[in-house]
Symmetry: C2
DNA sequence: TAAAAAATGTATTTATAATACACCTATTAA
DNA sequence: TTAATAGGTGTATTATAAATACATTTTTTA
């Protein structure tokens, strides 16, 4: 059980940007800082842009900045936007063959509840909350 | 975000056994029923045995049975026993390089909370609860 | 117009989970 | 005592998805 590095890196990009306010930050700078693939990061940043978390600017002097203040960026929202699926168990996956236990099986419902509980915790924190070492959920967030 | 089929199949084995009480069930029978790899299932069943969820019997007339009644088998316990890791984000993984954001980053703490919330829901249900189509957590379980 | 930076599409590599295969051990019944 | 049946073990292979690499395009500014 682990989120993809795709989502992981997206969160790190946002934290990096939040720590570097009032300036354009380049993808290359962030990739070098975390020592991760620049090409992979390009796609992550692009998606962060299309989902409205960062504002990207092409061309010389361009780069990326947060589109909203950290306290207005919800972590659950970011994870939901970046993680490509939440098929908690196989029966959530529409491309899989039908499990013979369905529909008389409570697993799907139970794991749906568990997944909701997981995401609800992430929904309770903003980027401002995770900038510090200890997450004091809500202390730095004004929304949700 | 998805549990491995290893854990998924383990749960299905337990459900299958709960639905076939008072008889020895063979691995081959279960593999055929779900149309999954018998070899894979052998290892899953072995681990279910070593963790005390099923009792396996070798030799002619052998097979497997639940070691306890369904209401005494906790789903969270099964998932914790079968899933090989819960590295919710990379920084939980001891084999990974150290992320430069640590230790001044609240992500690890937040995802630890989210993971706990996820498992807590699974802890609230027993095998007896998921035997029916709709999980009515606690209704069929006498413990936790 | 040159340099810098993101955008896009495709191909390749890597990691690991899943599966297959070969053989071993235990049990029972003929 | 032997054949059949069933789980146990270790290793090798395959499949899949994620991660990474590469090539090229588009945008912007000095």
């Amino acid at each position: 059980m682990e989120i993809t590095s795709y989502t992981d890196y997206a969160l790190r990009v946002l934290i990096y940007l939040a720590r570097s306010p009032n300036k354009q930050t380049t993808i290359t700078e962030i990739a070098d800082y975390f020592n991760i693939s620049r090409n992979h990061l390009v796609k992550i940043v692009h998606q962060l842009g299309s989902k409205g978390f960062v504002k990207t600017t092409r061309g010389k002097g361009g780069g990326l900045v947060l589109q909203r203040p950290p306290a207005m960026i919800n972590i659950g929202n970011v994870v939901r936007s970046m993680e490509c699926h939440f098929n908690w168990v196989e029966c959530f996956n529409p491309t899989q063959q039908h499990c013979r236990l369905l529909p008389n099986c409570g697993l799907k419902h139970l794991f749906a509840q568990a997944g909701e509980a997981y995401l609800k915790v992430l929904d309770s924190a903003t980027l401002a909350d995770v900038l510090l070492g200890i997450t004091t959920v809500g202390l730095n967030s004004k929304i949700l």
